[in-house]
């Protein structure tokens, strides 16, 4: 008697221990050791971060310059769809929701999915899949959260890993073609750092050169440097509420629109942050 329910590909892909078979949408990459190790890393992410992924096509998903393969999410189950050989959970982590599908082939899989109910917080380990531009998480493991400090811990981990990938690793993303907000966070820090390594030189260099900039990227760098130098002054740091963009514009003699644009860019880099509407503070690292 044949087991007509058994699907070899799905069984192996459900286990997730054989990435080249599991990721049917990810082609084998001829790769250096570093690419292999990147592809094997496990990233804690928020659903917002998943949505912000660069759109390199179905099989080429990366975030902050690191190839995303395996991810961890922690969120609340808001919906469960139970089919014969799979169970789909809608997991909402507060930043958004994503559907996580767990294949059920063995008794252990059934035990695992039966333990989950709607309203429960869960930790999901899985692999992001993008099929016909619909992103779901192919789930290896889903388990209830029992100690709710795990929720705090997960989000702090997301922040730490983001910070590590965008700042501490320097410029990971060297792909010139990426121009969306995610690439902005990874590509720009190298540029910004080279200006800020020597503040005095950076400031005077930008002040002398502003009139000669004739393309947008150089102008953004120049303005960013000036605005950041201004906000780094002890007098500005001393203001708990931060400094309003209008004041910055007035002090630096730049238009308010340009200052706001620059401050938005610096905020996306994590170099400044908003305290209340239109007030900004240097991120005192």
């Amino acid at each position: 008697m044949q087991s007509n329910e058994f699907d070899g590909n799905a069984a192996f892909s459900g286990g997730g221990f054989m990435p080249s078979q599991a990721t049917q949408t990810t082609p084998d990459r001829p790769s250096s050791a570093s690419k292999n190790s990147d592809a094997r890393c496990l990233l804690p992410l928020t659903v917002k971060q998943l949505v912000d992924l660069s759109r390199g096509g179905e099989s080429d998903i990366s975030i902050e310059g690191v190839d995303v393969n395996n991810i961890v999410l922690v969120g609340k189950v808001s919906k469960i769809d139970n089919a014969v050989s799979e169970c789909t959970f809608r997991v909402d982590d507060g930043t958004g929701w994503v559907e996580c599908t767990k294949w059920v082939h063995e008794h252990l899989d059934s035990v695992e999915v039966d333990a989950i109910s709607v309203g429960m917080y869960v930790r999901v380990y899985g692999q992001l899949k993008s099929i016909h531009s619909r992103r779901t998480v192919h789930t290896f493991s889903i388990r209830p959260v029992t100690d709710y400090n795990e929720i705090t811990n997960h989000f702090i981990e997301c922040i730490y890993v983001h910070f590590y990938n965008t700042k501490m690793r320097g410029c990971i993303n060297t792909q010139p073609g990426m121009t969306n907000s995610v690439s902005g966070m990874t590509a720009q820090p190298q540029v910004a750092n080279s200006n800020f390594g020597d503040p005095g030189k950076g400031y005077s260099y930008e002040a002398n050169q502003t009139s000669q900039y004739n393309n947008d990227e150089e102008q953004i760098r120049a303005l960013s440097s000036m605005v950041l130098q201004y906000l780094r002054q002890p007098a500005c740091i001393a203001f708990e509420m931060g400094v309003s963009s209008v004041v910055v514009a007035r002090e630096l003699n730049i238009s308010v629109d340009k200052v706001r644009q620059t401050l938005d860019f610096l905020a996306s880099e994590g170099l400044v942050y908003t305290t209340t509407d239109d007030y900004f503070k240097f991120t005192d690292a």
Binding site: V47, K48, V51, K76, G94, G96, Y148, N149, F155, T283
Partner: protein, 106 residues
């Protein structure tokens, strides 16, 4: 996949930034009655969560709902977080999630 209706991390001091929007916060319950739960936020403010949890609240409860004003939330979802919870770490997370790492959440 959908991020159209996020709930912002909030404590007592940050709730005013999100009035009218969906928020999430953890309260240490001080009093609960039929129509509301009153508790202390992770930064020490007294907040009111309007509504009624389906089960009696434990010492710590997560409330997800719409901020009506700077100290009231109209609760939609309740989750009991038990009797031991690290409120100070959660508070730090609220600061980070509303500050320089806001783009990872909202």
């Amino acid at each position: 996949m959908d991020i159209s209706s996020p709930a912002a991390f909030a404590n007592g001091g940050l709730l005013r930034m999100h009035v009218g929007r969906k928020v999430r916060t953890v309260l240490q319950v001080t009093r609960s009655d039929i129509a509301s739960v009153i508790g202390k936020s992770t930064d020490g403010y007294q907040l009111v969560a309007k509504g009624s949890p389906h089960v009696p609240p434990t010492s710590f409860v997560e409330v997800i709902g719409v901020a009506e004003n700077e100290n009231t939330i109209r609760a939609e979802l309740w989750t009991n977080f038990g009797d031991t919870f690290d409120a100070s770490s959660y508070d730090q997370l609220c600061q980070l999630a509303n500050g320089e790492f806001k783009h990872l959440f909202l």
